[in-house]
């Protein structure tokens, strides 16, 4: 089975967790940078996904 793509809700939750971790401030500079990079990439992916989606309407056959 194909791995399920991260949903918008999950992405937002993850971004919030990363921010909280950074907020605590007890991390090494390198770790903070890694977290920040991860956040940037999540944010970028979300926007890309939002902007590239196209309307699809399908009527199912019963």
């Amino acid at each position: 089975m194909k791995e399920k793509e991260i949903s918008f809700s999950e992405a937002l939750k993850k971004l919030k967790i990363i921010t909280e971790k950074l907020d605590k401030g007890d991390l090494e500079l390198e770790e903070s940078m890694k977290l920040y990079e991860e956040g940037v990439s999540l944010h970028k992916k979300c926007l890309e996904k939002l902007n590239s989606a196209k309307l699809k309407i399908e009527e199912l056959k019963k």
Binding site: S7, L12, L22, L35, H43, L50, K62
Partner: protein, 398 residues
């Protein structure tokens, strides 16, 4: 068999013949009749016997247990019966042989709904704790409704108002009458096979009779068994349907459901931008905290300045040398302390290095944060945006 016998022609019938004749006459009619159920007896006989009455009269009724009458009433309940009139020849008593029973009117439907609600409530189907969250931004949406009609058109027009990135899968269903329950349940099954974020069960407004299918036990169970969160969007003036109670979220009309989903895009967009802004702010603060050590330079400069001012004027050449050195240090300090918030907002990690900052690592790979952390002649790796250089500590100062 029906005969007209004149008085002068004395053709005499037996009692049995009269009752048979009466029965034949009665059985020519099929009727619908309304009344209140009384003396309902479900015993060990092969038939069920009861009376149907109004203020003035009583009509004895019965049906065979193997007859699919469709509804089993209770004493005192108002019902509508369909069947034939007939006669029990042995006793000459007449009664109605019932082939269909229906609860009568809105009151009865509400009572029936209330009874089922209590039962399902006790079984836990309406518990708040089992309700699933509606996703922040549902993209793949299953719709159960009549695929032809104004409802779906209106929904599609409203849902795409803010954003056009949805994937909408419509499962056509009968949403009224005898076939509705089966049809809606099969739609739920169909949609369960897909990978969805949300399912919306919807129908335009109607009377309580029209919406009775949304008060059926099978629909409640189909909603709870659906692998995705379900919004119930059945338009109605009456207070609620059992489908509303079972759904993870209930809205009053299909249009409201569309508006909710459409607005979720705006909310999500706002949330993600907000969170990202917080992330940037947290990161900048982290950088600021880490660079606070630079302030040591500032403090020592202040001390030097005081020292400089207190030196006697006849040591002019020394003073000049100190002054030049201080200025150089000040410039270095200024550029290092140039970590102001607005400048950093646009920073990404790579840009931090590109701006001229570098990170020094000792031979254990640890970041060097303070002059106290290094020794003379120690090897350090200094990381720039475009690579690293190896350096040796030649001197220290603070």
């Amino acid at each position: 068999m029906l005969k007209f016998i004149p008085m002068d022609k004395k053709e005499i019938l037996t009692v049995s013949q009269v009752n048979t004749l009466s029965r034949t006459i009665l059985e020519q009619f099929t009727i619908w009749v309304v009344g209140e159920v009384d003396s309902y007896k479900d015993g060990n006989w092969s038939g069920i016997y009861f009376d149907l009455k109004d203020e003035n009269s009583i009509l004895p009724c019965m049906f065979w247990k193997n007859t699919p009458v469709g509804y089993f009433p209770k004493n005192g309940e108002k019902v509508v019966l369909f069947g034939t009139l007939t006669l029990y020849e042995k006793r000459g008593s007449y009664h109605m042989k019932v082939s269909k029973i229906e609860p009568f009117g809105e009151g009865e439907l509400l009572r029936k709904r209330e009874e089922l609600r209590k039962k399902l409530q006790a079984e836990g189907y309406f518990e708040e704790s089992i309700k699933r969250a509606i996703p922040e931004l549902p993209i793949k949406i299953g719709i159960i409704t009549s695929a032809r009609g104004a409802v779906i058109k209106d929904f599609l027009a409203n849902v795409t108002k803010n954003y056009e990135g949805f994937e909408i899968y419509i499962s056509d269903a009968v949403v009224q009458g005898d076939k509705a329950v089966k049809s809606i349940c099969s739609s739920f099954k169909e949609l369960s096979k897909l990978d969805l974020d949300l399912v919306v069960l919807m129908r335009g407004g109607g009377s309580i009779e029209d919406l009775m299918c949304f008060n059926e036990e099978e629909i409640v169970k189909a909603i709870r068994n659906c692998p995705y969160p379900v919004i119930s969007a059945v338009g109605h003036e009456v207070d609620y349907t059992l489908a509303d109670l079972a759904a993870d979220l209930r809205v009053s009309t299909p249009t409201k459901a569309a508006e909710l989903i459409s607005a979720s895009y705006l909310t999500f967009r706002h949330n993600i931008e907000n969170t990202f802004e917080n992330l940037e702010y947290s990161f900048i603060r982290k950088l600021e905290t880490d660079s606070r050590e630079l302030d040591y330079f500032g403090i020592s400069l202040e001390r030097m300045w005081l020292l400089f001012q207190s030196l006697p004027d006849d040591l002019n050449s020394l003073k000049e040398r100190i002054y030049i050195s201080m200025q150089r240090n000040l410039e270095t300090c200024n550029s290092m302390l140039d970590l102001n918030l607005s400048g950093l907002r646009a920073l990404s990690p790579e840009n931090v290095l590109k701006r001229g900052y570098s990170i020094s690592y000792n031979k254990n790979g640890k970041i060097v944060k303070s002059v106290h952390g290094v020794n003379i002649n120690e090897d350090l790796e200094v990381k720039f945006s475009d690579g690293t250089v190896s350096t040796v500590v030649k001197g220290k100062g603070n």
